[in-house]
Each structure stands twice: as C-alpha cells, then as structure tokens.
C-alpha cells in the first residue's frame, strides 16, 4: 500500500502578537498630506454621519447642477444657447455658494480640534504648528476651489466640446479660461483664508460661521448705508468697506459684465483692480490673524 499523498493543512495558525514596525517611515510632506486628506474628508463630511454631508454636498449640487443642465441643453440645442450662462454671471452666483461653503467648512476644519482637545495628540507627533496651519489651509483651498474653479472648467469644456468647431471655440475663448482661473483662484484664496481666520478666533463652529457671515454681509450693508445717506466727494470709497461685495465686483469687472444699474458698485465707479487690492489686504490681515492664532496654539 502506497503512502497517502501530502494534503494541504486544514487550517493556519496566525500569530496575532505584537510586532514591531520595520517598514519605511515617511517624511514631513506625507505627514502634512495626511492632515490635508483628513481635512478634505472632514469638510465634505466623508466617513461621518449623513447630517454632516447635507451642507457640503447640497452646495456642491447647487454649484455643479446648473452646469451639467446647461451642457445637456447645449448638447440638444447647440450653440444657440451660448449666451444663456456666461462664465462671469455664473461665477457671480457661485460666489454666494462659496461664502456659505467656506463659512461652514473653515470652522469645521479648525474648531473641533481645539474644542475636543485633539491637538493634545496631534502635536505630540512630529508635526509643527506651521505644518498644521499649512495643511488645514491647503485642505480648505482644495474644497473651496472645487466649487470656485471646477464647475467653470467643466462649463468651459462642455462649451468647447458642444461647439460647432471645438478648435475655433477654444481659440476664440482662450481668454475666458485665463479669467476663470484668475477669478476662481482669487475667490478661493479670499474665502478660504478669511474663513479659517474667523475659525481660529473661537472653538465654536456656529459662532465662527455666524461671525464670518455677519462681518462680510454686515460690512456690505454698512457700505450701502454710508454711501446712500451721505453727500460728499469722497463717499464713493465707502464701496471698499463692503468686504463681502468685493469678490463679486472683481468678477463682474474681470469678465466685463458691468455692474448692475443703481447699485453702490455702479455708482461708486471703482474698478476691478481696486477691489482685487482690497481682497489682497483682507487676505493679508486675515492670514496674519490666522498665523498668529494657530502658531501660538498650546496643546
């Protein structure tokens, strides 16, 4: 009788004892990237309960929905609807969404870490406060840029592909692509830095959101009241007090859409570069506040 053929073992015993990690260890860049990825997830409510997804995904649908609807109409009707949804006009609408998005996502990124004392753990890893600050800023720039730039790029791509001649459309409207990137980038930086600065001043999300909206919208109301109730030569500069209005006015100027008749922007007669400079000053001040607050954080 021959020996039985060796058979596969019926089971395997795994040693689940503690093992030391002997794999590669990554550098500062990857640690910062981990905070960025976690921040993007948090801002979009990913891997969290459905309530945290309502606002970011609702705003994303509002930002992207009209673009896809318009492209669909273009596919059916052709270039005849070309004037229906201009880049400048669309970005003007998106600016409102950006404000809401940044005002909720910014505090979401900074406030819970301090309120729940998570920094007591984060800063015990080889992560500096500057790493933390840059990573949080990068995360918010990414998600705000997703609304500020991507829908318009999709719209531009859709317009190009549905045009009678894509090459001709691209050649004739290449300037618009530059304007989209410039305006989208400026709005992204403006809203992101300002939102994070507001979030750095308190560990309560609702307070940071309300404070930011209050300052931006309240300053616009104040500028209108001062401009329309006073009568002196230099009153047109009151338009620059409107912190919330500056991004939209810059967009209107950049895309050559003109200001709405009868509004403060139209009557003040201040041009786009002044509004861009105003945004730059606001970003510089808000960035200073943000750095001052975050770099002094103590776990």
């Amino acid at each position: 009788m021959s020996n039985p053929a060796p058979t596969a073992p019926a089971g395997t015993i795994y040693d689940r004892g503690y093992r030391h990690y002997e794999g590669p260890r990554e550098g500062r860049g990857r640690r910062v990237r981990a905070i960025v990825v976690a921040g993007v997830r948090r801002a979009l409510g990913l891997k969290r309960n459905w309530k945290t997804k309502v606002i970011p995904w609702g705003l994303l649908v509002l930002a992207f929905g009209p673009v896809f609807a318009f492209i669909g109409v273009r596919v059916l009707v052709g270039e005849a609807v070309g004037e229906f949804l201009g880049y400048g006009r669309y970005l003007r609408i998106v600016a409102g969404l950006l404000l809401l998005f940044a005002a909720t996502a910014g505090p979401e990124l900074l406030c819970p870490d301090r309120r729940q004392n998570v920094l007591a753990l984060v800063f015990t890893r080889p992560v500096t406060r500057l790493d933390y600050l840059l990573a949080k800023l990068a995360a918010l720039l990414l998600v705000v840029g997703l609304i500020a730039v991507v829908p318009l790029l999709v719209l531009f791509l859709g317009n190009t592909l549905t045009a009678d001649s894509a090459a001709t459309y691209l050649r004739e409207n290449l300037d618009d692509l530059g304007r989209i990137l410039l305006a989208g980038g400026a709005l992204t930086v403006f809203y992101s830095v300002v939102a994070l600065a507001a979030a750095s001043l308190t560990d309560r999300r609702a307070l940071a959101t309300a404070g930011l909206l209050g300052v931006l919208l309240g300053s616009s109301a104040l500028a209108n009241i001062l401009f329309f109730t006073t009568r002196f030569d230099g009153r047109r500069w009151f338009a620059l007090l409107s912190l919330g209005g500056a991004p939209g006015r810059f967009v209107d100027w950049l895309f050559g859409d003109g200001f709405d008749p009868g509004t403060l922007a139209q009557q003040a007669g201040i041009t786009g570069p002044a509004y861009l400079a105003e945004m730059g000053v606001v970003v510089a001040v808000a960035g200073g506040v943000l750095a001052w607050r975050v770099l002094r954080l103590r776990p």
Partner: protein, 322 residues
C-alpha cells in the same frame, strides 16, 4: 543608558513654579512618576515631549536633545495624555490610522497596524464605531492605541487609569504590564495612584510641589520608610498620641489608625498602664505611600535629597508588593 534624563529643569507659569531645578533619570523598564495633583508631573512629561520650553535646564530623550530636536523625540515617543482628547464623530479605526500616518507610517501600513494595535489593546470590532459613543475605559484604550500605533521606543502615559472603574483599571494595568513585558517598550507612567505604580513599575520618581522627593527602584524607595505598626488604641485621640510619644514612640495618623514606629511592646505597655482597649496592633509593611507621605511632610521643613539613601537588606526584603 537612560531612556530619558533631565538636568536642572525649571518651568514657571506666571507666579506658579511648576518645576524647580529638577534632576531625573529614567532608566529602561517601567518607571512611575508619582505626585499629588499639581505636583508637576504633566509639566515634566510635556517638557520631555518638547511641547513646553523650559525656563532653565535641559532634557534628553532616547539620546536626542529635546530642545534641539523635538520632532525626532516625538517620532519615537508615544504619549497618552490626561483627560478627553479624542474626536467624537470619527471611528476609532480612522483616528488611530490618521495618527499612525502623523507618526510617519504610509497609509496602507498605517491601516494594517491600526488593526493590529486595536486588537492588542482590546478594541477589535469596536474600532469601527464612532469614539463619541465609547465609555471612559474604551476611550483610554483608544488613546493607548494612538500612543502605540507608530511603534514608539518609549511610552509616556499620563494618568492612564484616570476615571476608570475597577475592572477597567485592572485591564489597563494588565495592558501596561504587557507593553513592558511582551512589547519591550520602556514606559514612564504618571499617576497619583501609588498602588498602580507598585503594581506595574520597576522604578519610581516622586515629585511634590515641583521638586523631586526621591527616585530609584521601588524596593529601595519603599524601604526608606522604617517599618511600624498600625494601631487602634482607645479612641486614637490626642491623649493616646501624647502617651505613645511619652513612651518614645513616633506616631502619625493614617486613616482610622495610628501608624506607630518603635517597639510593639511599648504600645502594649501604654495600653495596660492607661487601661485603654488595644483593638488593633498589626505590622505595617513599608510602602510607597508611607514613603511619599513622609517625604512630602518633610519637604516643607528641609530640602530633601534627590537620591534615596542606600536600602538596607531588611528594607529590600519588605520590598515593593508586585
């Protein structure tokens, strides 16, 4: 070679001197850092991590100068902080994996080690639940997993059994024992519970009001207290203490009993002379608690040497109860 060493370390918060010219040597193994609340334990740990900047002195951890290279220290040290510090709306698995990446692990190994470490600390399937729904004991386990996940060479545990029920405390002490034994990771355990230190540590550093009372192996430190007796004589009132003192005995209140140092025969004689009922007369082993209370009381009167006196063979025999 010591795993950590501080020399002349001082730290002041406003008018409060949190640490005052502290010299400490942390040897390999498990060291207990004991002291009352506010003694300076957490401040010392934060200085070791480079989270605070000392006013004077220097600290080195695992061969790295903390002031010169705090990031190198933090890459090799795990820390379990005191109090709540976990995000409530994130799962334990996600958070531990995130902290592993902050410790330098790539994303995939970070997830794999998260699963392993969570299993080791007793968080198996629970790791997929949001941390906000965890009990205090479970949250302490998450914090321990965070401290371990990047495979540190030294663990700093700040009040690891704080707020835990007796069973949870027992489980945590067993985990600490395993970390030292199986995992071969050196530990510094800060606590005000001397029983925890006696249970899991080899060495002890006692601090009080920002100063080191004593430090060394537990058997030696506990042995610096002269053995005595727990006595319940009459009402243990002032008259009793005066009578015992007159007989040449040293007494100190310790809970409901008097701790008496000297001959038990003298206690018996005093009881017989005064007609006081002697309800209790039991040998009292030298312990960390006795040593700590004695040194704490003595510190106000005179400077206390940082190093304990050499242990007598008798004292070593009393030893630490492990």
């Amino acid at each position: 070679m010591p795993v950590a060493q501080v020399e002349g370390l001082s730290k002041r918060y406003g008018t409060i001197q949190a640490l005052d010219r502290v010299d400490v040597v942390i040897e390999p193994g498990c060291t207990g850092l004991v002291g009352s609340n506010g003694a300076g334990k957490s401040t010392l740990i934060k200085l070791l991590l480079g989270l605070l900047v000392p006013d004077h002195g220097r600290a080195s951890v695992l061969g790295h100068d903390v002031a010169a290279d705090p990031l190198a220290v933090r890459a090799r040290v795990g820390y379990l902080p005191e109090g709540a510090c976990l995000p409530g709306d994130v799962t334990a698995a996600d958070f531990v994996a995130f902290m592993a990446q902050l410790g330098g692990l790539p994303p995939r190994p970070a997830r794999e080690r998260t699963a392993e470490v969570c299993y080791q600390v007793g968080l198996d399937e629970e790791r997929y639940r949001a941390i906000g729904g965890f009990s205090t004991g479970m949250q302490q386990r998450v914090k321990l997993a965070v401290a371990l996940v990047h495979d540190p060479s030294l663990l700093l545990l700040d009040e690891p059994t704080d707020g835990m029920d007796p069973q949870g405390r027992e489980d945590m002490l067993e985990l600490i024992d395993r970390i030292r034994g199986e995992l071969e990771i050196d530990l510094l355990v800060s606590t005000h519970l001397l029983g925890d230190v006696e249970r899991v540590c080899d060495r002890v550093v006692m601090v009080h009001a920002g100063r080191v009372l004593t430090q060394g192996p537990i058997a030696e430190v506990a042995g610096t207290t002269e053995p005595g007796f727990g006595v319940q004589l009459g009402d243990n009132g002032p008259q009793v203490r005066e009578a015992l003192a007159a007989a040449g005995l040293r007494t100190r209140a310790a809970g409901e009993q008097l701790l008496v140092q000297g001959s038990s025969d003298l206690v018996r004689d005093v009881a017989a002379e005064r007609g006081w009922p002697l309800r209790r007369l039991v040998p009292q082993a030298p312990s960390l608690e006795e040593t700590f209370l004695r040194l704490q009381a003595a510190q106000g009167a005179a400077a206390v040497p940082a190093e304990p006196p050499p242990a007598t063979p008798e004292a070593a025999a009393w030893g630490a109860r492990r």
